[in-house]
């Protein structure tokens, strides 16, 4: 059995400015990221023959996904053999998995993958990404939540996080190590939006949003765009960067795909996604040098530490105690650029960008000092989960 992802690699990365309110349009930010990634891969616009994104244009003013495939393809006048976008995939990395499929099917050689968010600007005029839409009846994946004052992911996801707290016994001062460590990393990252270090006391004093989530457990809405180029391996090896191979992916949906009936409430849908990823590689959790774990909320990161197998079930509280293991100097540095909590809500693509930044040794003041070859990265959110193992060629 040959796994398609092993014939693909990330060859270039790009990122726009990331801010709490941009002077540029969402489309221009996307152009900045895309051109950066194409150039970084040693390619030109003419070399891009595929586009993938998650979830694609949402055609509203929420800022959640303002730029679809059509806009960026036309802006860059790209000539494509394949393109695709959609949200009903294993989280944000579904776009990467689709690109792997397209490359494996011979449909593309160099796929531009991007994620653009414009929530900072959108929120200046309204509660832009409210799960409740005024004046209309609610449809879609949160329909069963409609009458119950479920305004935001922070509240709805807390139903999962609070059960995790109940079962694991994790304490707030342990949870807070995620936010504190990531702010420290962000202080060394010039592109991060929040760079002033915080203490555990700051974390404990930050206001409660919905138990158990405090403000500093929540990621930061931004305006920004990230792009990566995923190339077929033979093409990748012609480029200027050492290819970052996609060693294995986890894309499964073995649970009930529901934000209510999910049959893995406290772990979210991660365990079997991780199991699939590890089944496609000879590498083991102990081989992982760094991890860029989804952190829309800090509990996602805590869940992934266990579900990737870096510690045992309900053992994350001990693993992150004191914060030393997960620090830049620790045995498993995580979210080394500050993550979504402090560098901004680039929605998993910030994590891929940081993974490549570290593996290519471009981390500057935040560069992890030990030799780096293997990074685990992930997405999360209730029934949605995706995982990748990235390896320097």
């Amino acid at each position: 059995m040959t796994y398609g992802e092993k014939n693909t690699a990330i060859t270039g990365i790009g990122q726009s400015e990331v801010s709490r309110g941009s002077d540029k349009s969402a489309l221009e930010l996307t152009v900045d990221a895309a051109l950066g990634a194409i150039r970084d891969a040693g390619l030109t616009r003419a070399d891009i023959d595929g586009i993938a994104t998650w979830p694609g244009a949402d055609n509203n003013t929420s800022g959640f996904s303002p730029v679809g495939v059509a806009q960026i393809q036309d802006a860059l006048r790209l000539k494509l053999n394949w393109y695709g976008a959609g949200g009903e995939v294993p989280g944000q990395y579904g776009a990467v998995f689709n690109a792997i499929g397209a490359i494996s099917a011979g449909l593309a050689r160099n796929v531009l993958i991007y994620r653009t968010m414009y929530e900072a600007t959108a929120r200046k005029t309204s509660f832009a990404n409210s799960l409740v839409k005024g004046g209309e009846r609610q449809a879609g994946i949160f329909l069963w939540y409609a009458p119950y004052y479920n305004y935001a992911a922070a509240l709805q996801q807390s139903l999962m996080f609070n059960l995790y707290v109940h079962k694991s016994g994790i304490r707030p001062e342990q949870v807070g190590q995620i936010a504190v460590n990531q702010r420290r990393n962000a202080s060394l990252n010039p592109a991060a939006v929040y760079r002033t270090p915080i203490t555990i006391e700051d974390y404990l004093n930050s206001r409660m949003i919905a138990t158990p989530l405090r403000l500093f457990d929540c990621d930061v809405p931004i305006d920004g765009s990230t792009a990566i180029i995923v190339s077929r391996m033979d093409v990748a090896r012609d480029g200027p960067n050492v290819p970052i191979r996609i060693e294995a992916i986890g894309s499964s949906m073995q649970y009930r795909n529901s934000w209510v009936q999910l049959d893995a409430l406290d772990t979210q849908a991660q365990p079997k996604v991780a199991e699939m990823m590890w089944s496609r590689t000879d590498l083991k959790p102990k081989d992982v040098d760094i991890a860029q774990l989804y952190d829309g909320f800090s509990f996602h990161t805590i869940n992934w530490l266990e579900n990737f197998g870096f510690c045992e079930r309900y053992g994350a509280k001990d693993f992150i105690e004191g914060g030393t293991r997960i620090a830049l100097e620790g045995e498993l540095p995580i979210n080394t650029g500050g993550g979504a909590l402090s560098a901004g809500r680039l929605h998993a693509y910030g994590a891929v960008h940081e993974a490549c930044t570290q593996l290519w040794g471009r981390g500057g003041d935040r560069q992890v000092k030990k030799p780096l070859n293997v990074c685990a990265t992930s997405t999360a959110g209730g029934p949605l989960a995706g995982a990748m193992l990235l390896v320097k060629d």
């Binding site: 509660f127 009846r137 069963w144 004052y149 509240l155 807390s158 139903l159 999962m160 919905a210 138990t211």
Partner: protein, 148 residues
Amino acid sequence: MASTASGTAPPPRSLPVVDKDSQTFWTAGEQGELKIYRCQDCAYYIHPPVRFCPQCESRRVEPEAVSGKGHVVSFSINHQQWVPGLPVPYVLALVGIAEQDDVRLVTNIMNCPPEEVSFGMPVKVYFEQVEDLWVPLFEPDSEGAPRP
């Protein structure tokens, strides 16, 4: 939901789109009943409602009244005032029905101080009419036993 200290009314409850399968769930409260789809061949409860039994593949599925009793599977106490006039704190919860563990309902836990809501707490249904729908809500069930 309790009124605010200033006496202003809380925001109205948002309502779901209703279809031919979910109609019964959102309207049976008019008769004071909580109705869940049930397989007429193997007795399995199916929620969200669809006329297919994933246990035995029967298409003979009909809504049946359940006891209205259940327990708190998980909950969160919301403190953030997401919109003006929203009275906080309040409790968003998932409740498992007494008849079958894998039927969960989203709800608010009402008529109970938020700090007294607990995992496994026994609760019972009641209904609040909003426009043409009857929204199931849950409150403490003093006769029930907590789930471990």
